[in-house]
């Protein structure tokens, strides 16, 4: 068990504490969801909500710790790490498990537990009456536990453990309705894509860990900022490999294809995992290894920014042509992840993380709202919706709040976080990317306007009877709407609220300096440009789609000749991926099958036939003829000898007497003459 020596960060003027008892016992947050997992599987089906109560309870207890730590971190920075050594290679490469409590992980703990709790409560109502509900909550709890393990990881090894854990839970939950093969395929796609990326992650982790001699993040930070020779040689490669891993989990182009398919899972899953938490793990990894990219792997940053920018814009466009409301939100998520990745890659540590923080709330809100709508009309497609604002007011208004926050309208949360990203990009010199981001803001507003219009405005064209969702589902909607409105104020550049500081300061306690940029004040011109782009997008979208038409599809006309098919086919990326797989894996699989059938099975068949032949030889030749022959021969010999000898028994006394005398004679001769 090691306790980190607390160093005062040079940038932070605040005192740094150890976190006390709450930090010491913070490990309970990592364990409790797994306890819930076991309890739900064992006893879940006896409860009213089929075990959901246990999951909610676990996260509620976790939230206590998270909130206390969050509040404590507000007033005074916390830096604490508890680890347990599990294994050791050689004398210096150790594998440790434990938890780290610092600004970044406290932020993530708070986020995961709060959003998770609200989504869980929502899920109690959403999944009511559905199939296999105990397993749902068990897997969901397992996900929460794995995510907490991931964010509380003090080293790369534990993070990878959590990483794989969330991937596993994601697989289970995407393929939750496995009766339909498409859902199973979606789960497989998600898992496989992540697995491909994980190769990079593990390779990167191994390279960096072995070079430095430790997997611990703080050791990595020290080595990176200290400019160690050995690390410099592998930094770019290691960094790019880690980024590759992050690409898979955070759905960066071109490994984004799994996220839209992952919408096959139940909506609470989409809300928590594929909007707020799991997909942010990649961003989190980049944040944890930030010193590496800042100081040593600068060459990698260019690539990362570029990929982030492509993701941001190109995938955002796909949301314009999606009919499934969840797919719209999924493409939106990918786009926003692109924002976060670009920001962190460009050096905006706080900017990217702040957007992660705010995005979690309003994206989860949007997903839950979509779920509420889907629950009401029993269809995912916007072509079956329309005019629902009359039937579902709470859902409508919270959805609007979420959409405005996402679009980045002042003064909601999204405005502040997006503005900070733009500022960072500008400051770090990525002007082109900044303009792409501004265009992306336009597109974001554009498709969200479409979404709201098609879903809630006009008249209802479907067949079902839509109604407002029960309070257990609308409660979390409101609960998420409030942070979406006010949390932006936590990080106004240059503003530090008295007593509690601001988001930047909360993240600010460091072991080593990271050299990231913090804006001193609001850049009003940039903010204005961003806001204008967003408002323009909203207006244009409203203009095009708000008018009611005879059918929803007519409303959703957007048929620019070349662009539309390209977008509909999602840039043919899915087909390309399938083609790559088919080209490479197909022949390989066929070859392996041939080898198996003819060579391996053939070999085994030959061995089997040879053994059979040998067995026959041994049995017939050796055993039947040889061994039995010997014994039969012996017995036949004894038999014939007996038959011959018994002729002596004639029953005639005189012959016996004759033999007797002859014998006596011989003995006499022997004794008298010879001896």
């Amino acid at each position: 068990m090691t306790n980190l020596v607390i160093l005062a960060a040079e940038e932070s003027a605040r005192s740094v504490g150890d976190g006390g008892w709450w930090a010491d016992t913070a490990g309970i947050m990592l364990v409790l969801p797994f306890v819930a997992f076991g309890l739900i599987l064992a006893f879940g089906k006896h409860f009213k909500y089929q075990g959901g109560e246990i999951a909610v309870g676990a996260l509620a207890i976790n939230l206590v710790w998270a909130t206390v730590l969050f509040v404590a971190n507000m007033t005074g920075g916390i830096l604490h790490q508890t680890t347990f050594e599990i294994a050791r290679i050689g004398s210096d490469l150790v594998f440790e498990l434990g938890w780290v409590v610092d600004g970044l992980s406290i932020m993530m703990f708070f986020l995961v537990n709060l959003v998770g709790l609200l989504v869980f409560i929502y899920a109690l109502g959403y999944m009511k009456g559905d199939v296999r509900v105990p397993w749902f909550f068990a897997a969901f709890s397992m996900f929460a536990g794995a995510m907490l393990i991931l964010v509380g990881a003090p080293n790369l090894v534990q993070m990878i453990i959590g990483w794989e854990g969330v991937g596993l839970a994601s697989y289970f939950l995407i393929g939750f309705y496995w009766d339909d093969l498409d859902n199973v395929k979606a789960g497989n796609t998600a898992f496989m894509t992540n697995k491909v990326a994980d190769v990079g992650l593990i390779l990167g982790a191994v390279i960096l860990g072995v070079t430095i001699g430790s997997f611990d993040f703080f050791d990595l930070a020290e080595a990176a900022s200290g400019g160690a020779e050995a690390l410099g040689a592998v930094a770019v490669v290691g960094g790019l490999l880690l980024f590759f891993g992050a690409m898979g989990k955070s759905a960066q182009f071109p490994l984004h294809i799994w996220l839209p398919d992952a919408m096959a899972g139940p909506t609470p899953v989409s809300a928590l995992m594929h909007a707020a938490t799991m997909v942010t793990a990649g961003i989190y990894l980049m944040a944890r290894t930030f010193p590496l990219f800042q100081n040593m792997a600068q060459e990698a940053r260019g690539w990362m920014v570029a990929i982030g920018a492509i993701t941001l814009f190109a995938i955002g466009l796909l949301a314009l042509v999606a009919d499934d409301i969840k797919k719209v939100l999924a493409y939106s998520t990918v786009s926003q992840l692109g924002y976060m990745m670009t920001a962190v890659a460009a050096g905006g540590y706080t900017a990217g993380l702040f957007h992660l923080f705010t995005h979690a709330f309003f994206k989860a809100l949007l997903f839950l709202g979509a779920g509420s709508v889907i629950h009401a009309v029993h269809s995912n497609n916007m072509s079956d919706m329309g005019g629902l604002r009359k039937h579902m007011p709470t859902t409508y208004w919270t959805f609007v709040v979420g959409s405005l926050a996402l679009a980045g309208i002042f003064p909601l949360a999204g405005f502040w976080s997006k503005d900070e990203i733009l500022a960072t990009l500008g400051y770090e010199g990525y002007s082109l990317v900044m303009w792409i981001a501004i265009a992306g803001a336009f597109v974001t507003a554009f498709y969200m306007a479409r979404c709201v219009a098609l879903t809630f405005h006009g008249t209802y064209k479907g067949e079902a009877h839509p109604h407002e969702s029960p309070r257990i589902m609308t409660g979390p909607l409101v609960g998420l709407a409030i942070p979406s409105i006010i949390f932006g104020l936590l990080n106004i550049p240059g503003v530090s609220w008295p007593g509690i500081g601001n988001f930047t300061e909360w993240l600010g306690v460091r072991v080593v300096a990271m050299g990231d940029h913090h804006a001193e004040g609001i850049d009003f011109s940039l903010a204005a440009i961003g806001l204008a782009a967003a408002l323009a997008g909203l207006a244009l979208g409203w203009l095009i789609w708000s008018k009611d038409r005879p059918t929803q599809l007519q409303r959703d006309r957007f048929n620019i000749p070349l662009l539309y098919p390209l977008l509909r086919r999602k840039y043919y990326v899915d087909d390309a991926a399938l083609g790559v797989v088919g080209l490479t894996i197909g022949p390989l699989a066929r070859f392996v099958d041939w080898t198996n059938t003819y060579i391996i099975d053939g070999f085994i068949n030959v061995v089997g036939a040879a053994t059979k032949l040998l067995g026959g030889l041994v049995y017939n030749g050796l055993d039947q003829l040889g061994v039995d022959g010997i014994f039969n021969g012996l017995s036949a010999g004894a038999d014939s000898a007996g038959a011959a000898l018994r002729k002596m028994q004639t029953g005639r006394v005189q012959q016996y007497a004759g033999g007797f005398v002859a014998g006596a004679l011989i003995l006499v001769v022997l004794f008298v003459f010879v001896i």
């Binding site: 004759g658 005398v661 002859a662 006499v668 001769v669 008298v672």
Partner: protein
């Protein structure tokens, strides 16, 4: 000892005569075709050997031989012959190949025994008749040193007696059994 000196002693003439008698009788015992004749020839052989015993100064044994053997045993034999209704006339005939082998065997036996005794006892003399063995000595021997074998032989005779009666007894007919039970 040379043949001449041996012939000179008159004892040896007596021996010669008795010996020839015994031998002749013995031959006839085994070759006679008449069963009763064979028994009577045995009497002759036994009598002759009693005479030989007398020559060897074993009077007691000689007379025991005469009394027991000739007096009892031969009579028993004659009884047996009569009861088994052996043909008192000529026998049916002896087995031909058996005869040759048996003759060869007995000849070989005789040669072996004779050769043995000649090579062992060359010319060892035997005590002459002038010194009879006292019956007293025999008595002392029988009832002194060899009293246990004596008694055992007595038991043997008793067993033979009882056994003989039991073995040869005629099974009683059902009528006789009924009589015995009711009486």
């Amino acid at each position: 000892m040379s043949l001449q000196s041996w012939i000179a002693e008159p004892v040896n003439w007596v021996f010669l005569v008795i010996g020839l008698l015994v031998l002749l009788c013995g031959v006839r015992v085994v070759t006679s075709k008449n069963v009763v004749h064979a028994a009577l020839y045995l009497v002759g052989a036994l009598a002759g050997s009693a005479g030989l015993f007398l020559l060897l100064s074993a009077e007691f044994v000689a007379w025991v031989l005469v009394l027991v053997y000739i007096g009892a045993v031969i009579v028993l034999f004659l009884f047996g012959i009569m009861i088994t209704r052996a043909p008192t006339g000529v026998d049916e005939g002896l087995d031909a190949d058996k005869k040759a082998w048996a003759g060869l065997l007995s000849l070989a036996l005789f040669v072996a025994l004779a050769w043995g005794s000649i090579s062992a006892f060359a010319d060892d003399p035997v005590a002459t008749t002038g010194n009879p063995t006292a019956t007293e000595i025999l008595g002392e021997g029988l009832l002194g040193r060899f009293v246990i074998p004596f008694e055992i032989v007595g038991f043997v005779l008793l067993a033979a007696l009882i056994g003989g009666i039991t073995v040869a007894r005629r099974d009683e007919t059902p009528l006789e059994e009924e009589e015995r039970m009711s009486a």
